[in-house]
């Protein structure tokens, strides 16, 4: 039943250009953000909240801007590989510093790094275009050049393919021993070290992967908007990813996409309804979700008794992030 529902959703996503043509760009934005949210979602599995993943979002977008400027008509695949590679390097560099910290320290340290990048992007005007940012040229795809309209369609399917591929990879990663170790780190870091595993390296591996996901998300959104600006690494951007991840639910990769869809839809319609106060509606929605369905949007069907089999473990556990218990030292005192 769950598999059937999933296939239906994928079919709907494939059909978006035909059934909701005018919404195509919004759809691409939803998917681009979902990619970045997937990265934040991954770290949430270890109970770690990053308030700075916008920095890798920016790395993805700016890499497209620089490569596009240096090489006219760069291929979309080349840009994607470059964005993935560069954000992996950036993720490793930052990750080496932050992977040993937990909870609030982890969150704030990420925030600090992202704001350093923000300042650099803003101040080094001659290199980065300052606050105005850099233009991202429309890339080619496998040697074909596209006009504006057809490129929107191509880009939608490209980001959709990327999103589905990444979702599948993250899903598999979390089932594998290293992904399960990441989840185990949340409940007992002491035991993790005492089965012979480095907690820091476990976080670092996930961190690099999450950086790549954010980088690909940033690349996608950058190409949609045709622009890379310092806003990509501003702290509100990073918080937005956390917000969406919690909204969608941290129990399953689908949550990142559901959250992103609902977030952008609420924002779109709320903005039309209330002009400058769409945050008010968004905030109300988040409060309703947290109070009514601690497992996020993906937990709603189960709460309404629609799905027979819920997730095996307590879905609410996924959202107990801020006050993550750190049992280090428990039972070790004389």
């Amino acid at each position: 039943m769950r598999r059937a529902a999933l296939l239906l959703v994928v079919a709907l996503l494939l059909a978006v250009p035909f059934i909701a043509g005018p919404m195509l760009t919004l759809g691409t934005i939803v998917l681009a953000k979902a990619l970045a949210v997937l990265g934040v979602f991954l770290l949430l599995q270890a109970g770690q909240v990053s308030f700075g993943h916008g920095m890798f979002f920016a790395v993805g977008a700016y890499s497209a801007a620089y490569i596009g400027a240096a090489w006219r008509g760069a291929d979309l695949f080349v840009l994607a590989f470059a964005a993935a590679g560069l954000s992996a390097v950036a993720g490793l560099a930052v990750g080496l510093f932050v992977a040993r910290y937990r909870s609030i320290f982890f969150g704030m340290l990420n925030l600090a790094f992202s704001m350093v990048l923000f300042a650099v992007l803003e101040k080094f005007f001659h290199l980065t275009g300052g606050t105005d940012g850099l233009r991202i040229r429309r890339p080619t795809l496998l040697g074909f050049e596209f006009g504006r309209g057809s490129f929107d369609l191509v880009l939608y399917y490209f980001v959709l393919g990327l999103g589905l591929l990444c979702a599948l990879l993250v899903w598999q990663y979390l089932r594998s021993p290293i992904g399960q170790a990441l989840k185990a780190l949340k409940s007992n870091e002491t035991r993790l070290e005492y089965i012979g595993l480095s907690a820091r390296n476990t976080v670092l591996a996930a961190y690099v992967l999450s950086a790549v996901l954010c980088g690909l998300g940033g690349l996608s959104l950058g190409i949609v908007q045709g622009l890379a600006t310092p806003d990509y690494t501003f702290w509100t951007r990073s918080s937005e990813f956390v917000f969406i991840a919690v909204l969608g639910g941290t129990g399953h990769v689908v949550g990142a996409f559901a959250g992103s869809l609902v977030y952008e839809a609420v924002r779109f319609y709320a903005a039309a309804l209330l002009d400058d106060s769409w945050q008010l509606i968004l905030g109300a929605v988040l409060i309703a979700i947290i109070l009514g369905a601690p497992g996020g949007i993906i937990d709603l069907p189960r709460r309404f008794g629609l799905a027979g089999r819920g997730p095996r473990s307590d879905p609410a556990a996924g959202n107990r992030i801020a006050g993550s218990r750190r049992p280090h030292g428990e039972g070790a005192a004389s």
Binding site: Q172, Y173, R175, S176, P177, I178, G179, Q180, A181, K183, A184, K186, S187, N188, T190, R191, L192, E193, Y194, I195, G196, L197, S198, S313, D314, A317, P327, E330, G331, A332, A333, S334
Partner: protein, 253 residues
């Protein structure tokens, strides 16, 4: 110090361990050898430094002086994960489990680390060690718990699973901190019986901190008595436990 001479080279050998926490001296010149095939019990009053010794041996604490060697490798200064990989596993007084995972997943994670199975395209549940882990669970009397979430187990079973995780690492030496505390007193002997048998089957030597003297007499092959950060006496259980000084410090209080 009267040492009973078990034969061969020691598996683990501690020399001159010293550690102080402020004014409290938790280890004040500890010398101890642990030999292969023995079950060494550590007894002594609260605060004598028994758990501290385990903490030093597993890298959780770094002593201010002294050394611990395990088959030639110096353990002092190494983190717990390296010591674990050298072949020393630990079970805790308060069980340390991955509470959100099932019992079998707990075991499989240990097996995955042991075998270094880091292929991300292979899921934990499909590891080839699955059968081995189920057997091990059976060995510690938890055969039917595999699919239960660790957080949902009663304390006694958590304790057994904690030890099973340690055994899943295929250690040479297992350090246990009060293996039967938290187990209902009616079940204590049955549980310890299971454990000792499991250790023998897996050919694992052990050191265990214990408060129950009857447990010590029955299951330890040797006893070391701790008192104020020092080893007061070591030897064969019946002899040590009938020593008047030991009776005064440990049993008489």
């Amino acid at each position: 110090m009267s040492a009973v001479p078990p034969f061969g080279d020691p598996l683990l050998s501690a020399r001159g361990l010293e550690i102080r926490f402020g004014g409290v001296v938790a280890a004040n010149g500890i010398d101890l050898d642990v030999f292969e095939h023995e079950n060494l019990a550590i007894i002594g009053p609260n605060g004598a430094g028994k758990t501290t010794f385990l903490n030093i041996c597993t890298g959780y604490l770094t002593p201010q002086a002294g050394s611990v060697r395990f088959e030639g490798d110096e353990l002092v200064g190494q983190p717990p994960r390296r010591i674990t990989r050298l072949g020393i596993a630990r079970a805790f007084q308060i069980p340390q489990l991955f509470t959100e995972h099932t019992v079998l997943e707990n075991m499989l994670l240990a097996a995955a680390v042991r075998e270094r199975s880091w292929n991300p395209f292979r899921s934990l549940a499909s590891l080839p060690q699955r059968g081995e882990m189920l057997e091990l669970l059976d060995l510690v009397g938890c055969a039917d718990l595999g699919h239960k979430r660790a957080a949902d187990l009663p304390e006694g079973q958590r304790k057994l699973v904690d030890i099973a995780i340690a055994l899943a690492l295929k250690p040479r030496l297992l350090l246990m901190d009060e293996p039967t505390s938290g187990v209902a007193s009616a079940d204590k002997f049955a549980v310890m019986e299971i454990l000792v048998r499991a250790l023998r089957t897996a050919k694992v030597s052990s050191v265990f901190v214990e408060h129950d003297m009857e447990m010590v007499t029955r299951y330890a092959s040797r006893v070391a008595v701790w008192s104020q950060g020092k080893i007061q006496m070591t030897g064969e259980p019946t002899r040590v436990l009938s020593d008047p000084d030991v009776i005064r410090t440990v049993i008489g209080g």
